[in-house]
Chain length 217, copies 2
Amino acid sequence: MDIRDRILDAAKRVYAQHGFRGATTRLIAIEAGVNEVTLFRTFGSKAALFEAFMQAHVSHSPIPHLPDPPADPEREMTAWVATVIGHLRENRALIRTSFGEIEERPEAAVSMCEGPNCAGMILTDYVLRLQSLGIASADGDIPTAVAMLMSSMIGDAISRDVMPNAFPQPESDAPRKYVCVFLRALGVVPVRGRSGGAQPAETASGGHGRHRRATKR
Amino acid sequence: MDIRDRILDAAKRVYAQHGFRGATTRLIAIEAGVNEVTLFRTFGSKAALFEAFMQAHVSHSPIPHLPDPPADPEREMTAWVATVIGHLRENRALIRTSFGEIEERPEAAVSMCEGPNCAGMILTDYVLRLQSLGIASADGDIPTAVAMLMSSMIGDAISRDVMPNAFPQPESDAPRKYVCVFLRALGVVPVRGRSGGAQPAETASGGHGRHRRATKR
DNA sequence: GTCGCAAGTAAGTAGGTACTTGCATCGGCC
DNA sequence: GGCCGATGCAAGTACCTACTTACTTGCGAC
């Protein structure tokens, strides 16, 4: 790993923990294991360093896809939601810090929003496919439901460690639960009988729910 | 307004905009229109000032109630959600900043969470009442739906100004839309016909939806 | 009037921060 | 070997920050 990337990486960690003002060039240099002067020689200034590291960060944030012919909405979406929440949670300190400094440095937060914006589009497209296939009912408020699911994922990822009991327990079941509520709001109802209850863990004994009209097309 | 309160108020504004590190005693003193020395004489230190202002802030944050015999869920909840989002939006800068500094100063964010926690309980109680009255279906996942609505309100309040098109438009319709999706997820369906479509504005021409079995008890 | 107290004013201290400068060191390349 | 570019190191500059000290001013109570 070359010295430039080491500094960028260290800057990311230090910034996520201490914010822009708290991320002193001295701390970053120590964290990167380089001399502070090298930092200035490489990037010119602290501001330029942060510009570079923000750009580097957004350039490679992978957003998972949802299958184009939807087959099993609950299963596919649960996996997708779990992945997205996972990504968000990995970067939660960075997201929180950037958002906390919107007033002073809006660019950071704006670039942080690219990922979620893109994820929201992927999700919307998927649900529109569900709707056009007749799996989701025609009169559901898709934009609002998508916005709510996105907010839920972000909220879970960045707030669960602060107020754990405000979110579904256990953490590992949260994605499935979010998806069940989401699908129900859009009129995608699981077949009744086994695993239909989305509520407590004691009824969801293992099996995955199948959905009505969830054909392979 | 006495001088102590003026300083507390100024500290709140300056902190919301610049964070703890950026909220210099000099800035706060200027914003409060007092001498910097007065600030130290009144509170002793910057840290003590912030402790005092956090305590003062959480002590008077009003959370609206939901009617105990629920009558019209959509209307009542829409008003409640609008009020809560309003409160959150008023304090959005403060919330964002406190959350952004969780890593360094967790107490601030924790005290910020009291309001939402309480609101979540009020909401849960209300929905349980809906359920016990048979207005909401018995198998809905109430904790998850409540968590999602809470996340949606918070997300809307603190992120709409950054990514406006990720949230329901227009802003004034957002509370009703959230409530409609929420109620639908919990099996509270409006009567079909007029105002049933929760989706686009062109069909929602004025009327408020009534709900099946929404009797006055 | 004058006493006491709350507040302002001016100046200073000790430490931190971004950033610079000058020089030593090291490793690869001709 | 000798050159050169990248890096480390030590020191310094100019500024900011929390906080202190010593003194002055204004104002109500007696």
